[in-house]
């Protein structure tokens, strides 16, 4: 089974202080640690597991600057066979639609049975690349996938619905599946893997190689144009307890007592 995985290199922001940059349209990236998108971690693992079970290849693709080589190397170290990076200044400010078109320009000429993407990327959260890609490729898709099994020319997948409910859906192959967190337990990178990955080549392609025109990518080729970023307004500001940890604990305990909770 030949599998293509679409991977994104993103800043880790859960614990970081976020500042909006001077353009007002992006966040200040300096000082942030970048790594593989949380969802894509599961994507890669799922692809490698399928390959280990059925044979075949895993090709990792990303659209980004050289910065993202680190994440592609990680994919290679964890079992991807090939890596492709698409890069061009014209790709800047692409939304999920433009990114899907760029990915499509390469994937359409590759041979594959399955394309896996994350449900979304933790930075812009569009939740659209996988299923747009499927439509452009003219193949079926299923999203929010939490389990994959294979039958005769089909994938049987569990899709996550709300409230813990799931549905089982059968999808004809080839297909694009978008992977939800928790589908597997991503492995750690082995030293052997890292050594092997260093020797593998990362193929680099630019706009000219995609066959797309400049106005099909970047902001011009996007559905959305970002006007401004701002810090969300506070719905209900908490009352903060401060002081030493012991003092804080006392205040919490007293609060709970006053509310009859202890």
């Amino acid at each position: 089974m030949d599998i293509i995985v679409c991977i994104k290199h993103v800043p880790e922001t859960a614990e970081a202080e976020i500042k909006i940059d001077r353009s007002g349209k992006a966040i200040e990236k300096t000082g942030l640690v970048f790594d593989i998108n949380e969802w894509d971690d599961y994507v890669l693992e799922e692809a490698v597991r399928i390959k280990e079970k059925f044979g075949g290849t895993v090709t990792a693709i990303t659209v980004n600057t050289e910065e993202a080589n680190r994440t592609l190397r990680k994919c290679l170290a964890r079992g991807a066979d090939k890596a492709i990076r698409l890069t061009d200044t014209k790709f800047e400010n692409s939304d999920g639609y433009a990114i899907a078109k760029i990915l499509h320009s390469v994937i359409k000429d590759l041979s594959f049975d399955l394309v896996l993407t994350g449900v979304l990327a933790s930075d812009d959260g569009y939740t659209m690349v996988g299923s747009i890609l499927a439509e452009l490729l003219g193949i079926s898709h299923s999203t929010m996938v939490k389990k994959i099994e294979f039958g005769d020319g089909v994938a049987r997948v569990n899709r996550e619905l709300e409230g813990g409910l799931e549905e089982i859906v059968e999808v004809k192959l080839p297909a694009v599946l978008t992977i939800q967190t928790g589908i597997n337990e991503p492995r750690y990178v082995s030293i052997m893997g890292i050594r092997k990955a260093m020797k593998k080549e990362i193929k680099v392609l630019s706009l000219a190689d995609t066959g797309l025109s400049a106005n099909e990518v970047g902001e011009a080729g996007s559905w959305l144009k970002i006007d401004e970023l701002f810090i969300p307004p506070v719905e209900k500001q908490a009352e903060f307890f401060s002081g030493t940890p012991e003092r804080i604990a006392t205040k919490i305990a007293e609060l709970l007592k006053s509310r009859g909770l202890i």
Binding site: T13, E17, I27, D123, T143, M144, F230, I231, T250, L256
Partner: protein, 329 residues
């Protein structure tokens, strides 16, 4: 008159809340854009739903077909692309739900119409449509403009708009199913109900909930002890279940449980909206997080900006102290 479409979402015989939220927002927009509101209902034996929807919209387009009993994005896409092509609505609302995200992006691509996903607000400025979305797990909001088009598609975040009481008396328009005999490439097989675990967190008065901030599963017992001291139960955010540190029946949020305890103590949880939706109606929310900008503080009643591991042992100690005072007196 041009229309605003709202795709009704339903499952297992129930219209889902997001539908009424979108209809309410849609009605507000029709006044400003001089359009009328049309609910699109695709289903099997769905007349009852159509009647409900007609109290929220001027028109209900009802298409009934055996094959529409359960959601199927491929079939929905076939029907909706025909309807949108024919009627050219100013805007089509779809929920940013498991169903909506399976449908909207490929539908928009097929129709070559621009789509904005997971919107928390939208405004028309003449013919241009501006939306507000979130980035970076809710730490940043973004205002964006959708590429100018004669027809737009958006997906809307759940529980963002408040559904109002119904006020309309709309017309139900039945349309013959346009589906051909062609066999779809995607097939619904069945639902899988969540496994019922050993504990029902929705019944608890006190919930101590852990997030990725607890860093390692080896730290779980410290929090478990605190929960026990408080007479509460342990719950968690999604990553804790994804990592296998707690079973899925302990997860709070859109893809887990919705809880309303007297006390929700959130430890090392950032406050992504998917989590917030599952706990924001708790009586008292106390959040401990070392990041002063964590979104959870916008929803908590009480906040502590501190390393949770420094505070938790003291909380346990103080509670034991106060409890013993009570038993003595």
């Amino acid at each position: 008159m041009r229309e605003i479409f709202v795709l009704a979402e339903h499952r297992q015989g129930q219209i889902r809340d997001i539908t009424f939220e979108m209809l309410t927002k849609g009605a507000e927009l029709t006044e400003k854009t001089n359009t009328c509101l049309t609910a699109i209902l695709l289903g099997k034996d769905a007349k009852k739903h159509a009647e409900t929807l007609s109290t929220y919209a001027e028109n209900v387009l009802l298409i009934e077909d055996e094959r529409l009993e359960n959601f199927n994005s491929e079939i929905y896409q076939k029907i909706l692309s025909q309807l949108i092509n024919k009627k050219k609505p100013l805007l089509t609302f779809i929920g940013h739900t498991s169903y909506g995200v399976d449908l909207a992006p490929s539908l928009a691509t097929k129709l070559n119409l621009p789509l904005a996903t997971d919107c928390i607000d939208l405004t028309f400025n003449g013919e241009t449509l501006g939306v507000t979305r979130q980035m970076y797990g809710g730490k940043v909001n973004v205002k964006a403009t959708i590429r100018k088009s004669e027809s737009y598609i958006i997906t809307v975040r759940q529980a963002t708009f408040t559904a109002q009481k119904p006020t309309m008396n709309g017309e139900i328009i039945e349309i013959a199913s346009p589906l051909s005999e062609e066999i779809p490439k995607t097939r619904f097989i069945k639902y899988l109900l969540p496994s019922s675990g050993d504990i029902d967190i929705t019944a608890a008065d006190i919930i101590v909930s852990i997030g990725r901030g607890i860093k390692d599963v080896s730290n779980k017992p410290i929090i478990e002890e605190l929960a026990k001291t408080l007479g509460g139960v342990l719950a968690c955010s999604r990553p804790i279940v994804d990592k296998g540190w707690l079973s899925s029946d302990r997860q709070v949020g859109t893809s887990g449980k919705t809880v309303k305890p007297k006390l929700y103590l959130a430890l090392g949880i950032s406050g992504a909206f998917q989590h917030i939706l599952g706990m924001k109606n708790s009586d008292i929310i106390i959040a401990i997080n070392k990041d002063p900008n964590a979104p959870i503080f916008n929803f908590a009643n009480y906040g502590v900006v501190e390393d949770l591991f420094k505070v938790v042992p003291f909380i346990k100690e103080k509670i034991i102290e106060l409890k013993s005072v009570r038993t003595q007196s």
